[in-house]
Amino acid sequence: MSAASLGYGELALASLLLWLNGALSLWLGLGLERRMLVAGVRMVVQLLLVGLILKALFEVSSPLITGLAILVMIAVAANEVHARPERRLGGVWGFAIGAVPMMASTVVVTLLALVFAVGAQPWSDPRYAIPLAGIILGSVMNGVSLGLAGLVGGVVRERNGIEAQLALGMTKLAALRPLMRQALRNAWIPLINQMSAAGIVTLPGMMTGQILAGMDPVDAVKYQIMIMFLLGGASGFGVLGAVYAAVWRLTDERHRLRLDRVVTRE
């Protein structure tokens, strides 16, 4: 695989595109230029740091350190899922209902992929383990985030309807089923879109990267197909686990709606 190496000069040249957009925002009074600048700088710094860290991890190639790195990635993702939404479940449990399913499904699917699909030698080779865990985690994070925010927001919004059902003697699962279904559906939509449009509307990022780096397109496509299956499976399990865990926290054993456990961001 022969990759055409990029120089920093070329990167600077490409950054002109963002500068130009910043100038346009200023000219049109969109008020976006500051955020563009901050996001752009963050992206550059974060990616450069990640490049350095990955290089070091690949050189050390220790299963323990690889595992720790993946754990840190999961913690950051879980924090994103917990901190973002306007309404969320509070406390340690609020963090755990997102973090535990995300971790379980990311770890299990990554391990399965490493051992059975990629066939890396050794299976814990960070060159495979870390990017795989990262791409799977990213997808699980999006799904869980959409699922949880949708469910908790929906339950608060539909409170009267849910409590009317409970007051009439329906079980909590019966009362919450429509919202659970909606939350799961919302979480699946990006993945379904991604799968349906793959290769026609967009060339998936990873595949594009591999082709640019000189890989045979058919090999790159095979990799991409496997990745899509992994993403779909991992997100699906993660979201399902998170939504059921959230329902368990949003209600109690006496089939009450426990909105006192929901925190609204100021």
Binding site: G161, E163, A164, A167, D252, R254, H255, R258
Partner: protein, 199 residues
């Protein structure tokens, strides 16, 4: 007979109350005094301490959904969870159809979308929805607040029939005349305490 003992939540209570079969007990009092909190506690809709029994059957000994079918709370603001009115009734749709004229509602109301209902129509349909399940006790939170005098009279007549069947009713009402018309005993909720009131 509905027997409430030492019911307590936050700064509300402790409450004790016994309502005989076929008896209506009315509760008045300012907003925020704890009237709805009290009814919701009896229906076990919020965490709290204390016990409630229906004759010898203890609430704690049965699953909450079964208790709420026996002792049904009807909120002041009715809740809906589907687009069509009929979807809220399921197997009880025919008994509900039979009851609608008694609360001055057109039978066709069951075929409407919920969005078309006025708040008074919603309130009456929510009451019918609870009645057709034939609970042993009803916890009614301002059941006629959004109704005109004719509809109010119709609902009261229906409630009297329900009482005659032996159903117990705890009625929260702001209208002292309504309390006089329906209730044998009256209470006033003040700052989380229930006080007997002479009609």
């Amino acid at each position: 007979m509905l027997i409430v003992e030492r019911l307590q939540r936050l700064s509300f209570g402790p409450f004790a109350l016994t309502v005989a079969d076929g008896e209506c007990v009315a509760i008045a009092g300012p907003s925020g005094a704890g009237k709805s909190v009290f009814l919701r506690m009896i229906a076990d809709l919020d965490p709290h301490v204390g016990t409630v029994r229906l004759d010898a059957a203890s609430r704690e000994a049965m699953p909450a959904p079964r208790w709420r079918r026996l002792v049904t709370y009807v909120a002041a603001e009715s809740g809906w969870w589907a687009d069509a009115v009929a979807a809220h009734f399921g197997a009880t749709i025919e008994p509900a159809r039979a009851l609608l004229p008694a609360v001055n509602l057109a039978v066709e109301a069951l075929d409407w979308p919920v969005a078309r209902l006025s708040s008074g129509e919603r309130q009456r349909l929510a009451l019918v929805r609870a009645l057709v399940q034939e609970p042993r006790a009803l916890l009614l939170d301002e059941p006629t607040a959004a109704l005109d005098p004719d509809a109010t009279a119709a609902v009261e007549a229906l409630l009297r029939r329900v009482l005659q069947r032996g159903t117990s009713i705890v009625l929260v009402s702001h209208d002292p005349r309504q309390a006089d018309r329906l209730a044998a005993r009256q209470f006033r909720m003040e700052a989380g305490q229930l006080k007997a009131r002479v009609p």
